[in-house]
Protein backbone atom coordinates (compact mmCIF):
# COMPACT_ATOMS: atom_id res chain seq x y z
CA UNK A 1 0.00 0.00 0.00
CA UNK A 2 2.75 2.45 0.89
CA UNK A 3 4.44 1.86 -2.44
CA UNK A 4 1.12 2.69 -4.15
CA UNK A 5 0.41 5.91 -2.26
CA UNK A 6 3.95 7.28 -1.85
CA UNK A 7 4.10 10.82 -3.25
CA UNK A 8 0.30 11.23 -3.38
CA UNK A 9 -0.27 12.00 0.30
CA UNK A 10 -0.46 15.74 -0.32
CA UNK A 11 -2.50 15.55 -3.51
CA UNK A 12 -5.41 13.36 -2.42
CA UNK A 13 -7.27 12.39 0.72
CA UNK A 14 -6.33 8.70 0.85
CA UNK A 15 -8.56 6.25 2.66
CA UNK A 16 -8.52 2.56 3.45
CA UNK A 17 -11.73 0.58 3.81
CA UNK A 18 -11.70 -2.73 5.65
CA UNK A 19 -14.88 -4.69 6.33
CA UNK A 20 -16.00 -8.19 7.16
CA UNK A 21 -17.80 -9.17 3.99
CA UNK A 22 -20.86 -7.77 2.27
CA UNK A 23 -22.06 -10.53 -0.02
CA UNK A 24 -24.95 -11.84 2.09
CA UNK A 25 -27.65 -10.39 4.32
CA UNK A 26 -27.09 -13.24 6.75
CA UNK A 27 -25.11 -12.00 9.74
CA UNK A 28 -23.98 -15.50 10.68
CA UNK A 29 -21.95 -16.10 7.51
CA UNK A 30 -20.00 -12.82 7.60
CA UNK A 31 -16.73 -12.47 9.50
CA UNK A 32 -16.57 -11.55 13.18
CA UNK A 33 -13.66 -9.98 15.07
CA UNK A 34 -12.36 -6.60 16.18
CA UNK A 35 -9.64 -4.48 14.55
CA UNK A 36 -6.99 -5.18 17.23
CA UNK A 37 -4.89 -7.55 15.10
CA UNK A 38 -4.76 -4.93 12.34
CA UNK A 39 -3.66 -1.95 14.45
CA UNK A 40 0.06 -2.32 13.63
CA UNK A 41 -0.71 -2.83 9.97
CA UNK A 42 -2.89 0.30 9.89
CA UNK A 43 -0.38 2.43 11.73
CA UNK A 44 2.34 1.60 9.23
CA UNK A 45 0.16 2.58 6.30
CA UNK A 46 0.51 6.15 5.04
CA UNK A 47 -3.24 6.54 4.87
CA UNK A 48 -5.12 9.57 6.11
CA UNK A 49 -8.52 7.98 6.76
CA UNK A 50 -9.64 4.57 8.00
CA UNK A 51 -13.12 3.76 6.71
CA UNK A 52 -14.31 1.12 9.12
CA UNK A 53 -17.39 -0.85 10.14
CA UNK A 54 -18.91 0.01 13.48
CA UNK A 55 -22.63 -0.55 12.95
CA UNK A 56 -22.70 -4.23 13.94
CA UNK A 57 -21.34 -5.87 17.09
CA UNK A 58 -19.20 -8.12 14.85
CA UNK A 59 -16.79 -5.21 14.37
CA UNK A 60 -15.85 -4.88 18.04
CA UNK A 61 -15.13 -1.86 20.18
CA UNK A 62 -14.52 1.67 18.91
CA UNK A 63 -11.85 2.19 21.58
CA UNK A 64 -9.36 -0.15 19.92
CA UNK A 65 -8.76 2.07 16.91
CA UNK A 66 -9.81 5.19 18.82
CA UNK A 67 -6.96 4.84 21.30
CA UNK A 68 -4.31 3.68 18.88
CA UNK A 69 -5.01 5.74 15.78
CA UNK A 70 -6.71 8.98 16.75
CA UNK A 71 -4.14 10.83 14.63
CA UNK A 72 -5.95 9.55 11.52
CA UNK A 73 -9.38 10.46 10.27
CA UNK A 74 -12.10 7.92 10.91
CA UNK A 75 -14.75 7.06 8.33
CA UNK A 76 -17.19 5.94 11.00
CA UNK A 77 -19.53 3.16 9.88
CA UNK A 78 -22.87 4.12 11.40
CA UNK A 79 -25.37 2.29 9.15
CA UNK A 80 -25.70 -1.37 8.35
CA UNK A 81 -25.98 -1.49 4.54
CA UNK A 82 -27.73 -4.86 4.67
CA UNK A 83 -30.81 -4.09 6.78
CA UNK A 84 -34.19 -2.89 5.52
CA UNK A 85 -34.79 -0.09 7.99
CA UNK A 86 -32.83 3.10 8.41
CA UNK A 87 -31.06 3.63 11.73
CA UNK A 88 -32.50 6.47 13.80
CA UNK A 89 -30.55 9.76 13.68
CA UNK A 90 -30.69 9.65 17.48
CA UNK A 91 -28.74 6.38 17.55
CA UNK A 92 -26.24 7.60 14.96
CA UNK A 93 -25.71 10.83 16.92
CA UNK A 94 -24.91 8.70 19.96
CA UNK A 95 -22.23 6.89 17.97
CA UNK A 96 -20.74 10.20 16.85
CA UNK A 97 -20.52 11.34 20.48
CA UNK A 98 -18.77 8.08 21.38
CA UNK A 99 -16.28 8.67 18.57
CA UNK A 100 -15.68 12.20 19.87
CA UNK A 101 -14.11 10.64 22.95
CA UNK A 102 -11.19 9.60 20.73
CA UNK A 103 -11.17 11.80 17.64
CA UNK A 104 -11.45 15.54 17.16
CA UNK A 105 -14.64 16.64 15.41
CA UNK A 106 -12.61 17.60 12.33
CA UNK A 107 -11.45 13.99 11.96
CA UNK A 108 -14.81 12.20 11.84
CA UNK A 109 -16.57 11.32 8.59
CA UNK A 110 -19.87 9.42 8.50
CA UNK A 111 -20.60 6.53 6.17
CA UNK A 112 -22.39 3.20 6.07
CA UNK A 113 -20.36 0.12 7.04
CA UNK A 114 -19.90 -0.86 3.43
CA UNK A 115 -21.43 -0.39 -0.02
CA UNK A 116 -25.11 -0.95 -0.70
CA UNK A 117 -24.35 -3.14 -3.69
CA UNK A 118 -20.75 -4.32 -3.96
CA UNK A 119 -21.67 -7.23 -6.19
CA UNK A 120 -23.98 -6.06 -8.99
CA UNK A 121 -26.30 -9.03 -8.95
CA UNK A 122 -25.99 -9.60 -5.24
CA UNK A 123 -26.90 -6.10 -4.06
CA UNK A 124 -27.61 -6.14 -0.35
CA UNK A 125 -30.15 -3.34 -0.40
CA UNK A 126 -32.65 -1.25 -2.37
CA UNK A 127 -32.35 2.36 -3.44
CA UNK A 128 -35.16 3.70 -1.26
CA UNK A 129 -33.74 2.16 1.91
CA UNK A 130 -30.24 3.35 1.02
CA UNK A 131 -31.62 6.87 0.49
CA UNK A 132 -33.31 6.80 3.91
CA UNK A 133 -30.05 5.71 5.53
CA UNK A 134 -28.18 8.59 3.90
CA UNK A 135 -30.78 11.03 5.20
CA UNK A 136 -30.48 9.57 8.71
CA UNK A 137 -26.72 10.16 8.69
CA UNK A 138 -27.17 13.74 7.48
CA UNK A 139 -29.74 14.42 10.22
CA UNK A 140 -27.44 12.97 12.88
CA UNK A 141 -24.49 15.05 11.63
CA UNK A 142 -26.61 18.22 11.84
CA UNK A 143 -27.75 17.34 15.33
CA UNK A 144 -24.25 16.84 16.75
CA UNK A 145 -22.87 19.88 14.88
CA UNK A 146 -25.57 21.98 16.53
CA UNK A 147 -24.68 20.57 19.94
CA UNK A 148 -21.02 21.41 19.46
CA UNK A 149 -21.58 24.95 18.23
CA UNK A 150 -24.09 25.54 21.05
CA UNK A 151 -21.73 24.19 23.69
Amino acid sequence: MNRVVSGFEDKLRLGLHVCRGNWSKREDVLITGDYQPLVDCFSEMKIQQLVLEYATPRAGDLAIIGQALSDREIGLGVCNPRTDEAESPHLIAKRIREALQYWGPDKIFLNPDCGFGCFANRCVNEQQVAFEKLKAMVAAAQQVRAEISGA
Binding site: L16, V18, R20, W23, A120, Q127
Partner: protein, 216 residues
Protein backbone atom coordinates in the same frame (compact mmCIF):
# COMPACT_ATOMS: atom_id res chain seq x y z
CA UNK B 1 -17.56 21.47 8.36
CA UNK B 2 -17.65 18.69 10.92
CA UNK B 3 -18.93 15.14 10.25
CA UNK B 4 -19.15 15.15 6.46
CA UNK B 5 -21.41 12.36 5.20
CA UNK B 6 -20.32 10.05 2.42
CA UNK B 7 -20.64 6.47 1.22
CA UNK B 8 -18.34 3.50 1.00
CA UNK B 9 -18.96 3.34 -2.73
CA UNK B 10 -21.61 1.12 -4.25
CA UNK B 11 -25.29 1.79 -4.83
CA UNK B 12 -28.05 -0.78 -5.52
CA UNK B 13 -28.45 -1.54 -9.23
CA UNK B 14 -31.84 -1.18 -10.88
CA UNK B 15 -33.23 -4.14 -12.80
CA UNK B 16 -32.65 -2.37 -16.12
CA UNK B 17 -29.02 -1.69 -15.20
CA UNK B 18 -28.54 -5.32 -14.18
CA UNK B 19 -29.95 -6.44 -17.52
CA UNK B 20 -27.60 -4.02 -19.31
CA UNK B 21 -24.59 -5.30 -17.37
CA UNK B 22 -25.52 -8.81 -18.44
CA UNK B 23 -25.97 -7.79 -22.09
CA UNK B 24 -22.64 -5.99 -22.09
CA UNK B 25 -20.89 -9.03 -20.63
CA UNK B 26 -22.27 -11.23 -23.36
CA UNK B 27 -21.34 -8.68 -26.03
CA UNK B 28 -24.92 -7.96 -27.07
CA UNK B 29 -24.63 -4.37 -25.88
CA UNK B 30 -21.75 -2.10 -26.93
CA UNK B 31 -19.81 -0.14 -24.34
CA UNK B 32 -21.22 3.11 -25.75
CA UNK B 33 -24.80 1.84 -25.46
CA UNK B 34 -24.16 0.59 -21.97
CA UNK B 35 -22.60 3.87 -20.88
CA UNK B 36 -25.59 5.83 -22.09
CA UNK B 37 -27.85 3.89 -19.75
CA UNK B 38 -25.31 3.92 -16.92
CA UNK B 39 -24.92 7.72 -17.26
CA UNK B 40 -28.66 8.11 -16.64
CA UNK B 41 -28.55 5.83 -13.61
CA UNK B 42 -25.55 7.70 -12.20
CA UNK B 43 -27.38 11.01 -12.66
CA UNK B 44 -30.24 9.63 -10.57
CA UNK B 45 -27.86 8.25 -7.95
CA UNK B 46 -26.12 11.64 -7.64
CA UNK B 47 -29.46 13.42 -7.48
CA UNK B 48 -30.53 11.22 -4.57
CA UNK B 49 -27.26 11.86 -2.72
CA UNK B 50 -27.65 15.61 -3.13
CA UNK B 51 -31.28 15.44 -2.06
CA UNK B 52 -30.26 13.47 1.03
CA UNK B 53 -27.59 16.08 1.82
CA UNK B 54 -24.48 13.95 1.29
CA UNK B 55 -21.21 15.93 1.33
CA UNK B 56 -18.75 13.71 -0.57
CA UNK B 57 -20.48 12.28 -3.62
CA UNK B 58 -19.75 8.88 -5.26
CA UNK B 59 -20.96 7.47 -8.59
CA UNK B 60 -22.30 4.34 -6.91
CA UNK B 61 -19.89 2.06 -8.83
CA UNK B 62 -22.83 1.57 -11.19
CA UNK B 63 -20.65 0.69 -14.18
CA UNK B 64 -18.91 -2.06 -12.24
CA UNK B 65 -19.73 -5.75 -12.08
CA UNK B 66 -18.24 -5.79 -8.61
CA UNK B 67 -15.79 -3.61 -6.72
CA UNK B 68 -12.69 -5.40 -8.01
CA UNK B 69 -13.72 -7.60 -10.96
CA UNK B 70 -14.41 -4.50 -13.10
CA UNK B 71 -10.72 -4.05 -13.77
CA UNK B 72 -10.88 -6.82 -16.39
CA UNK B 73 -12.47 -4.20 -18.63
CA UNK B 74 -9.57 -1.82 -18.13
CA UNK B 75 -6.45 -3.95 -17.80
CA UNK B 76 -4.90 -6.28 -20.41
CA UNK B 77 -3.86 -9.73 -19.26
CA UNK B 78 -7.03 -10.34 -17.26
CA UNK B 79 -10.09 -12.49 -17.66
CA UNK B 80 -13.41 -12.27 -15.85
CA UNK B 81 -14.22 -15.68 -14.36
CA UNK B 82 -17.16 -16.74 -12.27
CA UNK B 83 -16.35 -18.69 -9.14
CA UNK B 84 -17.95 -21.62 -10.93
CA UNK B 85 -15.32 -21.28 -13.71
CA UNK B 86 -12.57 -21.18 -11.11
CA UNK B 87 -13.81 -24.40 -9.60
CA UNK B 88 -12.10 -26.13 -12.56
CA UNK B 89 -8.68 -25.19 -11.23
CA UNK B 90 -9.28 -25.81 -7.55
CA UNK B 91 -7.73 -29.01 -6.28
CA UNK B 92 -10.20 -29.70 -3.53
CA UNK B 93 -13.44 -29.01 -5.39
CA UNK B 94 -15.69 -30.39 -2.67
CA UNK B 95 -14.16 -28.10 -0.05
CA UNK B 96 -14.42 -25.04 -2.33
CA UNK B 97 -18.08 -25.76 -3.06
CA UNK B 98 -18.79 -26.32 0.58
CA UNK B 99 -17.10 -23.02 1.46
CA UNK B 100 -19.31 -21.17 -1.04
CA UNK B 101 -22.42 -22.80 0.35
CA UNK B 102 -21.47 -22.15 3.95
CA UNK B 103 -20.79 -18.51 3.18
CA UNK B 104 -24.03 -18.13 1.21
CA UNK B 105 -21.95 -16.99 -1.79
CA UNK B 106 -23.47 -17.70 -5.21
CA UNK B 107 -20.82 -19.31 -7.47
CA UNK B 108 -22.29 -18.06 -10.73
CA UNK B 109 -22.94 -14.45 -9.87
CA UNK B 110 -19.72 -13.50 -8.12
CA UNK B 111 -16.89 -12.99 -10.58
CA UNK B 112 -13.15 -12.76 -10.19
CA UNK B 113 -10.58 -10.80 -12.23
CA UNK B 114 -8.07 -13.55 -12.96
CA UNK B 115 -4.57 -12.74 -14.22
CA UNK B 116 -3.99 -14.68 -17.44
CA UNK B 117 -1.09 -12.69 -18.93
CA UNK B 118 1.09 -9.60 -18.59
CA UNK B 119 -0.92 -6.87 -16.85
CA UNK B 120 -1.13 -3.51 -18.54
CA UNK B 121 -3.54 -0.65 -17.93
CA UNK B 122 -5.41 -0.19 -21.21
CA UNK B 123 -7.57 2.67 -19.96
CA UNK B 124 -8.07 4.43 -16.61
CA UNK B 125 -9.76 2.32 -13.93
CA UNK B 126 -11.87 5.17 -12.58
CA UNK B 127 -10.60 8.52 -13.88
CA UNK B 128 -13.03 8.57 -16.84
CA UNK B 129 -15.92 7.84 -14.49
CA UNK B 130 -14.73 10.66 -12.26
CA UNK B 131 -14.73 13.13 -15.14
CA UNK B 132 -18.35 12.28 -15.87
CA UNK B 133 -19.24 12.61 -12.20
CA UNK B 134 -17.55 16.02 -12.12
CA UNK B 135 -20.04 17.27 -14.73
CA UNK B 136 -22.94 16.41 -12.38
CA UNK B 137 -22.02 18.20 -9.16
CA UNK B 138 -19.64 20.73 -7.62
CA UNK B 139 -19.45 18.80 -4.36
CA UNK B 140 -16.22 17.03 -3.48
CA UNK B 141 -15.94 13.60 -5.09
CA UNK B 142 -14.91 10.27 -3.65
CA UNK B 143 -13.57 7.43 -5.77
CA UNK B 144 -13.12 3.81 -4.75
CA UNK B 145 -10.41 1.46 -5.99
CA UNK B 146 -9.59 -2.13 -5.10
CA UNK B 147 -6.46 -2.17 -2.94
CA UNK B 148 -3.16 -3.71 -3.96
CA UNK B 149 -3.42 -6.61 -1.53
CA UNK B 150 -6.95 -7.56 -2.58
CA UNK B 151 -5.99 -7.43 -6.26
CA UNK B 152 -2.83 -9.46 -5.80
CA UNK B 153 -4.62 -12.10 -3.82
CA UNK B 154 -7.68 -12.32 -6.06
CA UNK B 155 -5.99 -12.06 -9.46
CA UNK B 156 -3.37 -14.71 -8.86
CA UNK B 157 -4.79 -18.09 -9.83
CA UNK B 158 -1.69 -20.22 -10.27
CA UNK B 159 -2.97 -22.31 -13.16
CA UNK B 160 -3.61 -19.16 -15.24
CA UNK B 161 -1.10 -16.66 -13.88
CA UNK B 162 2.12 -18.62 -13.53
CA UNK B 163 3.14 -18.49 -17.20
CA UNK B 164 3.14 -14.69 -17.32
CA UNK B 165 4.71 -14.02 -13.93
CA UNK B 166 6.21 -17.13 -12.36
CA UNK B 167 5.49 -15.86 -8.88
CA UNK B 168 2.84 -13.75 -7.16
CA UNK B 169 5.12 -10.92 -5.90
CA UNK B 170 6.30 -10.26 -9.46
CA UNK B 171 2.69 -9.77 -10.52
CA UNK B 172 2.15 -7.53 -7.48
CA UNK B 173 4.85 -5.14 -8.77
CA UNK B 174 2.76 -4.53 -11.88
CA UNK B 175 -0.40 -4.03 -9.79
CA UNK B 176 1.40 -1.36 -7.76
CA UNK B 177 2.47 0.38 -10.98
CA UNK B 178 -1.09 0.28 -12.37
CA UNK B 179 -2.56 1.77 -9.19
CA UNK B 180 0.07 4.53 -9.14
CA UNK B 181 -0.78 5.47 -12.72
CA UNK B 182 -4.41 5.63 -11.66
CA UNK B 183 -3.73 7.85 -8.65
CA UNK B 184 -1.87 10.29 -10.89
CA UNK B 185 -4.85 10.41 -13.28
CA UNK B 186 -7.35 10.79 -10.44
CA UNK B 187 -5.39 13.62 -8.85
CA UNK B 188 -5.20 15.37 -12.23
CA UNK B 189 -8.94 14.87 -12.76
CA UNK B 190 -9.78 16.55 -9.47
CA UNK B 191 -10.66 13.70 -7.11
CA UNK B 192 -10.75 14.83 -3.47
CA UNK B 193 -10.89 11.43 -1.83
CA UNK B 194 -9.64 8.03 -3.00
CA UNK B 195 -10.54 5.01 -0.93
CA UNK B 196 -8.77 1.68 -1.32
CA UNK B 197 -10.86 -1.37 -0.53
CA UNK B 198 -9.06 -4.13 1.35
CA UNK B 199 -11.87 -6.24 2.80
CA UNK B 200 -9.86 -9.43 3.06
CA UNK B 201 -7.55 -8.04 5.73
CA UNK B 202 -10.11 -9.01 8.36
CA UNK B 203 -10.29 -12.50 6.95
CA UNK B 204 -6.54 -12.93 7.17
CA UNK B 205 -6.53 -12.12 10.86
CA UNK B 206 -9.84 -13.68 11.86
CA UNK B 207 -9.95 -16.95 9.94
CA UNK B 208 -7.41 -19.58 10.89
CA UNK B 209 -5.75 -21.66 8.15
CA UNK B 210 -7.85 -24.70 8.72
CA UNK B 211 -11.03 -22.76 9.22
CA UNK B 212 -12.96 -21.15 6.46
CA UNK B 213 -11.53 -18.97 3.74
CA UNK B 214 -13.68 -16.68 1.63
CA UNK B 215 -13.58 -16.46 -2.13
CA UNK B 216 -11.75 -13.14 -2.57
Amino acid sequence: MYFPVTQVGSWPRSSSLLAALRERRSGRLSTAEFNQLADDEIRQCVQLQIEAGVDYVVDGELRRDNFYSFITEKVDGTQLMSLADMLETVEDKAAFEEMLQTLDAPAFSIRNPTCVGKLQRREPLAADDLQFLRTLTDRPLKVTLPGPYLLTRAMWVTAYSVDAYGDKPVMADDIVAILREELADLAAAGAEFVQFDEPVLTEVVHSGDDERRTFM
